[in-house]
Symmetry: none
Subunit: 226 residues, 2 copies
DNA sequence: CTCAAATGTGAACGGCCCGTGAACGGCAGC
DNA sequence: GCTGCCGTTCACGGGCCGTTCACATTTGAG
């Protein structure tokens, strides 16, 4: 995914933390010139501009980003509470704004909302382990670039295992957590699903699911040895 | 100036104070019915919906206000911090949001910003996915250059799906979001509408709506990252 | 090495999820 | 009131897939 443009450079600690917590990639720039120079080939996905310290420079940057041939959107501005009064004079320079002190996850929510308004989907929730990726929103799984065609139970089982890499689960635990607490069935059912998962993962990745004899199964590498 | 529609009635003290401080006239309403009954002759100027206490009722009201012949805009929602995660699923129901506890003058700034944006008509009136185009103003749908003759529910269902491409929705979720929160009916109703949609989309595009067995339905392709 | 327990393997059964066709009934318009 | 449209519901059937079983293979202890 393309990174967010962030100003100023270096980003203030509070802003940097909120950006990291949001999970979006980002890169700080000094001014409009570096914003152009450091622009990725596929462009910026948006911008988060800190305007509390040097508001004039910040809004000048906003203006420059807006006057491009393809104006940079969305553009979010971070301001101090006492700057709110001036904001209506700058409405044309921004799409949304955040007020210091930043709240946990508000930045993420506002960026996603702006993305949504522009028709881009929000960042999907993923479970990742190495090349394996599970998209929890689309119920799709892939290893590398190759999609895995999993049934419902296979997907649920792999999801649970991949969410707890390295941990060993007994068959009973898996039946409880994946199948449900009210489930009464043979424990060997787990074996069959594990086997089908291994088959669909392919020879190269079948080892991702390891058998721990007389205990259960483990996904990924052990926490102890390499 | 026309008043803002406010929910719930009576407005919580914190919300009422912020509204009074903003200087905008406002009036609280109990539900969608009173929102219609008490609507001024020249209409509401916008809405501020408190969704922290009874979120389902609040979003049901949002949905009702959006489904009017002339949807009520702008629509701001007040949520608790822990509700931020659910917001992306309701993005289509709101224009902006505020997080509790409310900050002095933030409400005023956000309402003014929304008013400013409305003056320039930035709300998207098209939903597009590949060759599929939905015109939200004229309630017309087309695929390529060929118009689709959809019924109301078919249109609403396709619109909702196309607004969240790649995402899987259970039948219950679809009943809640498309049919409405107060709907109590069989989940199989969704199947029939999906089937008719597929038929009208034609053989070539029927695959746009995919069945995710024992989960629900998905529109379009998945979103992996790029 | 021997044996038993544990696990892998292939196949078959059957439940249930979903597609399909049809019919019911409410509602609006003529 | 009649008629056509459309949202909803129902029954039926097919096929997917979760489950189970029998048998083969592996593991590890003695």
């Amino acid at each position: 995914m393309q990174p967010l443009l962030v100003y100023p450079d270096p980003a203030p600690a509070e802003l940097a933390q909120a950006l990291d917590a949001s999970g979006f990639p980002w890169r700080a720039v000094r001014d409009a010139a570096t914003a152009d120079a450091e622009e990725p080939e596929d462009g910026w996905s948006g911008a988060v501009i800190g305007a509390d310290r040097r508001p004039d420079d910040a809004f000048a940057l906003c203006s420059a980003l807006r006057k491009r041939e393809f104006p940079l959107e969305p553009l979010l501005v971070v301001v101090a509470p006492e700057q709110l009064k001036e904001l209506d004079l700058r409405s044309d320079l921004l799409d949304d704004f955040l007020i210091l002190p930043l709240r946990h996850s508000e930045l993420k929510a506002r960026v996603e909302h702006q993305f949504w308004r522009r028709g881009r989907g929000t960042r999907p929730e993923l479970v990742e382990y190495g090349e394996l990726v599970l998209n929890l929103e689309t119920y799709q799984a892939a290893i590398g670039r190759k999609p895995l065609d999993l049934t419902y139970m296979e997907y649920e089982l792999l999801k649970f295992l991949a969410q707890h890499p390295g941990k060993v689960f007994t068959r009973e635990t898996l039946l409880n957590r994946v199948w449900g607490y009210e489930y009464y069935g043979g424990a060997r059912t787990v074996d069959v699903h594990i086997r089908r998962l291994r088959a669909k993962l392919g020879e190269e990745f079948a080892g991702l699911i390891q058998t721990v004899r007389s205990v259960g199964y483990r996904f990924g590498q052990s926490r102890w040895s390499g």
